[in-house]
Every structure is written in C-alpha cells, then in structure tokens.
C-alpha cells in the first residue's frame, strides 16, 4: 500500500508534519513497515481540503486530530 502525504505550503501550515509523524509512529507500532510505503508529495491541487493524503491514489482529507482514526479505518483495515 502506498500512502502519500502532501508537504506543500498550504498543507504544511495545516499540520502535515504532525500527520506524517503520527503515521510513522502508528506504522512502527503496528509493525506494518513492510506493507505500507509512506511518502511525501508536493501540492495535489486540493489545498482547501488539506492536509491532503492519498492511499493508493484515493484522496482523503486528514487533519492532525483525525489522523489516528484515519489510520485505523483507511490504512490498517485495508492492509
């Protein structure tokens, strides 16, 4: 599974750093490093909905507050 998090200006201000760090933490905790590839991406053109995240090309809007439930529902459940 390939997960991309936008690190462009707008998403940066909306907390993409916190999202990336939380995801790295959760992936390590669940031991999913081999199944999930986490990467950065520049602007996805949907800044209004930031922080922009894609899971195998499917778009999601995530915030530092919702990142844990997003991980459970959209990432862990799909592996």
């Amino acid at each position: 599974m390939k997960v991309l998090v936008c690190i462009g200006s707008s998403c940066h201000i909306k907390g993409s750093r916190a999202v990336v760090e939380r995801l790295q933490e959760l992936i390590a905790k669940e031991n999913l490093q081999d199944q999930i590839e986490l990467g950065g991406s520049f602007c996805m053109g949907k800044c209004q909905q930031g922080v922009c995240v894609t899971v195998d090309g499917e778009f999601f809007s995530v915030s530092p507050e919702t990142v844990t439930s997003f991980f459970e529902k959209e990432m862990k459940a799909r592996v």
Partner: protein, 389 residues
C-alpha cells in the same frame, strides 16, 4: 575585466557602555568598476569618535571616488575635522583599500593596525612604501589580486583585545593572523570572517570591550552564477519558455515551490521525489535529477529572507543556517556563501489555495519576498537579475 570579484564585509563592536561606534567603514563603488573602502577610527569613543570617523571615511571615499589624490584628501581632513576640546587635536586614523577593476588593490594606511593579507591561506608580508603627507606618516602598497586573497583591515580595538585580562599586551598580530589563517579558505564569506574575528575580540575583552573594535574583510574570489526558480508562470503556455531559459543558464539551479517543481519535473521528464525528513519547522526538501535543490515555496523563502536580513544587521543566526539541513538553510548557504551572480525566475501565477484569508500567505507576500530577498542580496554585493513570467 577578469572573472574575479571582491566580497566585502565588515563588523564592529562598541566600547562597553557606548551606544555609538567610534569606528566607521564606508564602501563606495565607482562607475568604472572600482571600489573604495575606508575604515576610520576616531579618537576616543562615543559620539565624538563616531563623528570624527564618519566624517573622515565619508570625505576620503567621496574625494577618492571623484578622482582626487590622496594628498588632497589628507589635507582636507586635517583642515575640516573638528578639534577635540579635551585633547586639543583633531584625529582619526584610517585604512583605505581601493580595488581597481578587480585586478589591483591599492592600500593606503595611516596609523591603524597594518592590513593583513592572506594569500593561498598564508600570511604574506607585502611591500609598503612610506610617504609623509602633511606631517602624517602614510604607508602605500599596490597589490596585484589573486584568487583567494583575503585582506583584513582592523581598528586598534582588535589587537588591543584582552589587555590586562588574558594578555599583557593584547591579542598580538601574529595570533590574529594564525586565527584567521585557519579559517580563510573554508568558504566563509567576508561578512562572516569579520564577524568571527570581532566576536573573538569581544570574547578576549570578556564581553566588555575596552575600545571600539572593527574588522573589515575583502575576499577575492571567482564569480559563481546561480539560478533560482520561484513560482509557476502566470500564463500556463509560458511554462516551457520559462523552463528552457532557466535550465539553459550556467551555474547551480534551485527551485522553490511545489507546483513549480512539478512543472520542472514534467519538463525534465524525471520523477520528483519529496523527502519526509522534517528538520526544524521548515517543510522538507525534494529531489529531482538535474536540479541542485528543490524546496517548498513561500514558507522556506520567507525564512531565507529573515536570515538575509539578520546577516546584514546583527548576524547572530549565521550558525543556524551555516549548519542547518533544512531547505531554508540550504538555500541561504548557496545564495549568501557561494553565489556572486544570481538570476531569479519568478512566476506570477496566483495559487487559488493561498488566497484563503486563514492562511498567512498570499500573492502580495510572495512578490514582496522576491523584492526583499533581491534587495538584501544586492546589499551583500551580489549582482541580481530578476525576470518575471
């Protein structure tokens, strides 16, 4: 003209308790490509010394730049400077470095510590001729410039550092030379070399300088061009034109901005690989084959502008950007340390996402950033060209 250029930088610290500095450095560029630098040290410290040194350096630099002889300058100063009521003399020592078309340097020294010249990293005792003008003993030298020559002019506050604290007779010239020799070829800019020297003096004084201390450094170096691309073009059809002009230029290439780097990646037909290494609070950089540095846009450039302004004023953040690994530090090192000629390619496209009033970034800020950055870089003595698309 050759392809050498002179990087000029200076820094002063004030006598403890004084708000004004009694030393003054004046740099004047002439139309024929020559530069006159005058470092003057006024008698005493505080307001009086400040007036004396400012007058001296302004008069000399203006007169020399207008083509008058040094004899006339010295006579004018002797006749014009106000006489000190306590000591009954009008007095300011000076060092003149005149760089002629980046080929020759003329040194004229009166009573300041002798200018140190480091050639290929070693001290060089250059020839000096003594003349007497108006009863003043003046030393003149003519030096043919070579790449990596470093000239260090000081006020006497530097060799006097540490008198009665760490040393009996202050920080000796030989010790200053060996201190500077170690750093002259490490790629430090003139401004940072002078800062390092003066900061060391301040340390020797125990943080309470007993005199104003100033160092002025001239570094002879080869011209290094650099190109920076910032923002997508306002008209989408100009993308290819902007890219081909940008990539055709000699020197390193820096790209700032997510959308901009995507356009460049498409043009180069290479994958853009953003990293996830967050260092500090600046967004991570990215990698793109054929481009030396790819960073995020406004936030990173905004930090570079802050570093540039600090560099020109107090220069207290130089350790942050000199060692940092984030995008802003990397750009700062390339632009401040390495480059001498910088071409900006600025796209004026408006990013609709940035027009959200909740975000601290908008189009005007972006244009201001370019303006402020190019102004600051010009003050650092760099040649700047800005093209808008």
């Amino acid at each position: 003209m050759n392809d050498l250029t002179c990087d000029i930088g200076y820094k002063s610290i004030n006598h403890a308790g004084e708000q004004l500095c009694g030393d003054h450095v004046e740099v004047v560029e002439q139309e024929d490509g020559s530069t006159v630098i005058v470092l003057a040290d006024g008698l005493g410290s505080g307001v009086k010394a400040s007036i004396l040194s400012t007058l001296t350096s302004k008069i000399i630099s203006t007169m020399l730049a207008a083509g008058l002889s040094i004899e006339e300058c010295v006579e004018t100063i002797a006749a014009t400077l106000p006489v000190c009521s306590e000591r009954g003399v009008a007095y300011s020592t000076f060092t003149i470095i005149r760089l002629i078309r980046n080929q020759t340097a003329e040194l004229i020294q009166y009573d300041n510590p002798q200018v140190i010249i480091l050639r290929n990293g070693d001290n060089w005792e250059y020839p000096r001729t003594e003349t007497t003008i108006g009863g003043k003993q003046i030393f003149r030298s003519l030096i043919r410039l070579q790449e990596d020559d470093v000239f260090i002019a000081m006020s006497d506050g530097c060799p006097h550092a540490g008198i009665g604290i760490g040393y009996n007779f202050g920080w000796k010239r030989e010790d200053i030379i060996s201190f500077m020799e170690a750093m002259s070829l490490c790629g430090y800019t003139a401004r940072n070399l002078s800062t390092l020297l003066v900061d060391e003096c301040n340390k020797q004084y125990g943080g309470e300088p007993g005199d104003d201390a100033t160092a002025c450094v001239v570094r002879v170096r080869r011209r290094v061009p650099m190109n920076l691309l910032f923002g997508p073009p306002s008209n989408r059809d100009d993308g290819d034109r902007m890219m081909s002009l940008f990539f055709a230029k000699e020197g390193k290439h820096i790209i700032c901005g997510g959308t901009t780097s995507s356009i460049a990646a498409k043009w180069l037909n290479k994958p853009l690989r953003p990293s996830l290494d967050f260092t500090g609070d600046i967004p991570p950089i990215a990698y793109l084959e054929g481009v030396d540095l790819v960073t995020e846009g406004v936030i990173t450039v905004n930090r570079v502008v802050e570093y540039a302004k600090d560099y020109l004023s107090e220069n207290k953040h130089y350790e942050d950007w000199s060692y940092g690994e984030d995008g802003a530090s990397l750009i700062s090192r390339l632009l401040f340390d390495e480059a001498t000629d910088i071409n900006f390619y600025v796209g004026k496209a408006i990013n609709p996402a940035h027009q959200n009033p909740d975000l601290p970034i908008n189009f005007n800020i972006k244009m201001n950033l370019v303006q402020e950055l190019s102004d600051a870089l010009k003050k650092m003595g760099k040649r700047i060209k800005v093209s808008y698309f």
